[in-house]
Amino acid sequence: MSPTLRIAFRFLTAKKRAMLMSLSCIILGVGLFIVTQATTSGFEDYFIKTILGTNGAIRIEDKIQETMRTLAAKGATGDSSFMIAQREGRKYVEGIEEPKQVISALKEFDNVAAVSEVLHGPAMMRSSFKGESVRAYGINLEDHLRVSDLRQQIVEGSLEDFRSSPSGALIGKVISERLLLSVGDWFILEASDKTGRQSRRYRVSAIYETGVADIDRSRVYLNMSECRSLLRKPTGASFIQVSLFEKDRAPQDALRIEDVIHYSARSWQEREKSWLEVFRALRFSTAITVSVFILIAGLAMFNTLAMMVMEKTKDIAILRSMGYTRQDISRVFLWQAAIVLVIGTVVGMALGALVTYSVSQVRISIRGIFATDTFIVAWSLWHYVAAVLTAVIMVMVASLVPSRRAARLEPGDVIRGTAQ
């Protein structure tokens, strides 16, 4: 053990109470940092998982049609204005006329994991009890299971029934409650277009719950061929849902897809921008709040060390008189901060993990943007790294000043001050 570390250890015991104060501040700061990050990013992650499990990573919708104005701009001016002109002049044609072509083009992208074409349209849903306006969603079940978490979202009934019977339907939990429908019950969907109105009977194969209020209230999944008959759309699709291997690359992939297939492609980040920003702001603001705690830990350490230096001036002079260098002296005090820091961060991480675990056991029921019955936490090494880094930086910066002051003390001055 280096002599300075040995001295640091012994000095620590001389000011136990002040050191314990700094220590508990560090423990609390690190622990709280971890817990708040775990919970806020837990909910954020779960929100993202819900987005990906319902509306998918990328949605391809509406054909892009260049207007005459864009074409003119394209010929006349340089690159940048051309881009802007294109955005301004963009027009969309609703729906996808040739889903098969689009799908085969999409499969060429290496980050695309699976695709599912979806047809939807408005309908009235009637049970014997009452009616509600909903949207009928036609899907090919196997495809759609690959781009969503529909299988995991089933809370009653079975997908088998939907798969095997053409008149089967998957309805959301909210609508099932509103129309007093349970698995096996029959209901009527009414759709109308220019040529008139038609209604067909369906049976509840299963009830799903995504937690997203809009979806659970309004989406009725039908088999694709049934949906085509109901909505009288023998060809085409409303949109194509895409799942990706790497979800974080969605915005770049969406841009490339738009370039290649000339359909609008919207990434999950773009679609859910406002909610994601709320989560980010929340995470950021809790990080700031908790960093204040760690800042206090730093100040406590500053205070403790400054007092320590004042109390130990004699010892500093003695050490200097027998050949300890300025650097040795500042190390004696930095070591003390480091020791407290190491204990504080280790215990703080343990505390953070423990509290995070206990919080994850807390029961709360949330519906609206996702469905959960317990508190959601995220286990990420990065929360621990960030907490420790923050603590290390704050505490070390705070200890630098007193330890440098200690190193600057002149032995002669100290001795005269005390020995006259």
Partner: protein, 229 residues
């Protein structure tokens, strides 16, 4: 003058030192010159406040003179950089402060080992052996593991003397090393110091108010108002 400096451990010439600021500025040392040969014991005597401690701090490189030169083992140290002065303190100088200065959180043994650990020339086991031997020499063989706070004033002073001897420095500067000691222990400490001076050729400079001790030194330098008389 190499042949002279060979025999001279410490030399200072025309040292001036002012203390205090502004109105309270005092000309404490007014041109002190002094030489200490290896193997000799010197006593500096004089009335309280005449500047003995001030001179000793300067010779021990704990303070800087306003003018004048200080040579340690042939090297001019009075204006050298802090690193060189610090290294010289660790290697060549053993200092006993006027008021016992032990590190209170440490045992007697640890206090004596403190300079050795910094110098790092011995193995830990050798350090312990040497520290025990030194404590034995000053009559504290039984109390090596006592914390400094559990020792009497005189005992602390003897630990401080053992500590000053730890690295076998060529120069020992002791500011009233026997001030807190009874007759028996004063004699013990003084005999130890003179024996070391003779055996290992150390230069020993001590400040004392005790005429008997001063009388037994090789040379006595009386001081008055910042000057040797």
């Amino acid at each position: 003058m190499p042949e002279i400096s060979d025999n001279i451990a410490l030399r200072c010439t025309d040292i001036h030192r002012y203390l205090g600021q502004g109105e309270g500025r005092v000309h404490v040392l007014r041109g002190v010159s002094f030489e200490a040969k290896r193997g000799e014991v010197y006593a500096i005597v004089g009335p309280s406040g005449c500047g003995k401690s001030t001179l000793l701090y300067l010779l021990g490189l704990l303070d800087r003179p306003d003018s004048g030169e200080i040579w340690i083992n042939g090297h001019l140290m009075s204006n050298s950089v802090d690193e060189a002065r610090t290294a010289a303190r660790g290697e060549h100088i053993g200092f006993v402060f006027q008021f016992h200065f032990l590190m209170l959180e440490f045992t007697a043994l640890e206090n004596v080992m403190m300079p050795m650990r910094k110098l790092g020339k011995l193995t830990p086991a050798q350090m312990v052996d040497r520290a025990k031997m030194l404590l034995n020499d000053v009559g504290l063989g039984e109390k090596t593991h006592r914390l400094a706070t559990q020792l009497s004033g005189g005992e602390q002073q003897r630990v401080a003397i053992a500590r000053a001897l730890a690295n076998q420095p060529s120069i020992i500067l002791a500011d009233e090393p026997t001030g807190n000691l009874d007759v028996k222990n004063s004699a013990l400490v003084f005999d130890l110091m003179t024996r070391l001076a003779k055996e290992s050729g150390q230069a020993i400079i001590l400040v004392t108010h005790n005429p008997e001790i001063a009388g037994r030194c090789d040379s006595v330098r009386p001081m008055r108002d910042g000057l040797f008389v």
